[in-house]
Amino acid sequence: MQTAPRQTVPLRPDGLQLDERRDWQRRHWRAERIAWAGFGALVLAALLGLTGAGGPLASARIGIGPAEAAMPRVGRLQRAGLLTLRLPAEPALHEIRLGPGFTDHYTLGTLHPRPRHEATGPGGTRLVVAAPGGEVRFQVRPHRPGLARFTLGIDGHAARLGALVLP
């Protein structure tokens, strides 16, 4: 015959029989308070834009020769972001190169204005665009989490861009 496993629930001096474990509970209450501070920090980080999806610290700007690129500093998996390039008036047509590391983490979406020429190869993606308004906008959608690093070239000048893609 199988005997029931021995289970004991302590009896308190006041007659109540329950396993309260007050010391453990105190430690858990302390952990709760620390977690609440963590929740607040996460909300603050999100408001500042450090978790992606907008905010004052969401975008990073970098100069590339006479041009400037602005890109989300933190992205989220499958959430589209904007890579914005501010280009000088000359030349009329600009050559933009997205290094191979770009497609490791991103899918290129809508480009505005539409490029005159687009080619993708082992060396990355080459685009030729006219930017009469001085601005080119790419919709970029991360498809892999992690640290995304790629080289962005504009009219012969190049810079390394990086962003953290959150899962």
Binding site: R12, R22, E32, A35
Partner: protein
């Protein structure tokens, strides 16, 4: 594979956040707590499904979540510490008619909550009719009236 890789972390993260938010949240004691739990359920849905709304994905996710639940219950049997973290332990709020202010403050329970439980469960009218009040693992308050 992605279904499991989404389901497991979402389950664990939700479990940890719920445990660390405090037991009163679990009790759905106020409309706010109830609304919170409804919204959380909706919020996690998209994280679980991603952009795959197929029946296959739903089945894999459901089975994954149930498997996690079973695995957790088996792990709890082996580890008392894990069981305590996941389920908590009861906290005595009133012992022999004397309120434990430390426990009540830490657990965010006030006398009004205890009196409400006393009225609901036993029709008690006053604090001095309560012998013991215990905040249970479920977040509910159980009342033992004085004889």
């Amino acid at each position: 594979m992605e279904s499991v890789l989404r389901g497991v972390p979402v389950y664990l993260i939700l479990l940890v956040i719920l445990r660390l938010s405090g037991r009163r949240t679990l009790a759905q004691s106020t409309p706010f707590d109830f609304v919170l739990l409804l919204i959380v359920a909706e919020t996690t849905q998209q994280a679980l499904l991603g952009d795959d709304f197929s029946v296959t994905n739903a089945v894999v996710l459901i089975v994954t979540l149930f498997a996690m639940d079973i695995a957790m219950s088996l792990l709890k049997k082996r580890s008392g510490r894990l069981a305590r973290f996941m389920d908590g332990t009861p906290s005595v709020l009133i012992a022999q008619g004397v309120p434990d202010w430390e426990a009540m403050g830490r657990a965010r329970v006030d006398l009004a909550d205890i009196l409400s439980a006393a009225r609901t469960a036993h029709g008690l009218r006053r604090l001095d009719e309560i012998d013991f009040a215990v905040l249970e693992q479920s977040g509910g308050i159980s009342i033992i009236p004085k004889a």
